[in-house]
Symmetry: C2
Subunit: 200 residues, 2 copies
Amino acid sequence: MSVVRSPRSRTTSLGAATAERIADAAVTVVARDGFDVLSVRTVAREAGVSGGTVQHHYDTRNALLLAAFAHTVDAITSRLIHSDLAGAVQEVVTRLCEQALPLDDERRRECIVWTALSAAASTHPELAHWQRRAVTLFTATLASIIRDARTAGELPQSCDPDVAAAVLVAVVDGLTLHGVAHQDQNSTAILWAAITALLE
Amino acid sequence: MSVVRSPRSRTTSLGAATAERIADAAVTVVARDGFDVLSVRTVAREAGVSGGTVQHHYDTRNALLLAAFAHTVDAITSRLIHSDLAGAVQEVVTRLCEQALPLDDERRRECIVWTALSAAASTHPELAHWQRRAVTLFTATLASIIRDARTAGELPQSCDPDVAAAVLVAVVDGLTLHGVAHQDQNSTAILWAAITALLE
DNA sequence: TCCTTTGTCTTACGACTGTATGGCCAACAG
DNA sequence: CTGTTGGCCATACAGTCGTAAGACAAAGGA
């Protein structure tokens, strides 16, 4: 984040920092101006570097796109990982799902990139791979939590963890798709209704 | 749909047919090649007309985008309207939701455009308006069906039609977002699970 | 009949695109 | 010390972009 850089730092670490700054700038451009505005030059301007530098770190525009996507998925994933897992299963699942919803500016930024590139994945197979990974990981995490709660007797045996998790991920992505376009949605209420209905 | 045109037909109707053909070509381009490939020239080539003709019917690229979106929303909406409303409420709702899922090539085509432009709506407010309309209409339709079933005693009073409808629309859009990227999803099973859980 | 409208096409222009190439400077290896 | 490498930048090129402008044909109304 910080622009201050020690003059003593190694060249390689400087390069890595710049690469990350460029990826972050790519995310900013997509989130603020839209998917179709992303170009080598717009990202370079946003990052405060020359076009050549962007080229140096990401060979092609496509590589830049992938970096923006990976950067976003990383951010969401790391927030999921650091979530609080204490309390009733409904509350834990709610907290987890809310990490992926556009409920504040930062999450909104990430969600815009997520939806833009998920949509683009339908015609760009190399993006589809990353999207699938992220969805699978999220689903597996939720399923595992639900399964644990069921074996602990907190949920009835009739509740299928895999199916419930899949439905919840769909709900979250659907709410995200709506939420990025209009901010005034009451996503949390709908999410809670889905969770209570599924985890009877 | 038909390319055959009577030489006696009025000029205006000819123009309207061409305009629709261009909008259809725009949908094809977005669905096949991606959102970022759409341009006046690519659509013109796809429609088999000159760039000037596209310009004549749709002043700007943005107007073309909007037409593609409206065309798609119309197609989905008309399929929803002509859905079979007979049978148990769970089955009716399932049939309705499946009309909006990418379960065959035609629906897949529409869903790609729907997701691409829903995602774009987050940074293009004029698209957001259309997206909101479509979502609202779908939600209201489902809610109305659920409400009718409840007053008919087919569903318990504890079931809130508006909330259930909102959750279902979110599920459908979430499954759509996943389905356009990977075809091998078992969307129908997940949809059915959500419906049975919500309409206990 | 002439004039206006409408649909279609061609051409043109400036801006922007992705990317290849090469130069400059600092840091490191020998 | 010299040679090499890596980060960064400037430039160049061929192509595409959105859009404006004008030409031509057909048709309708006066």
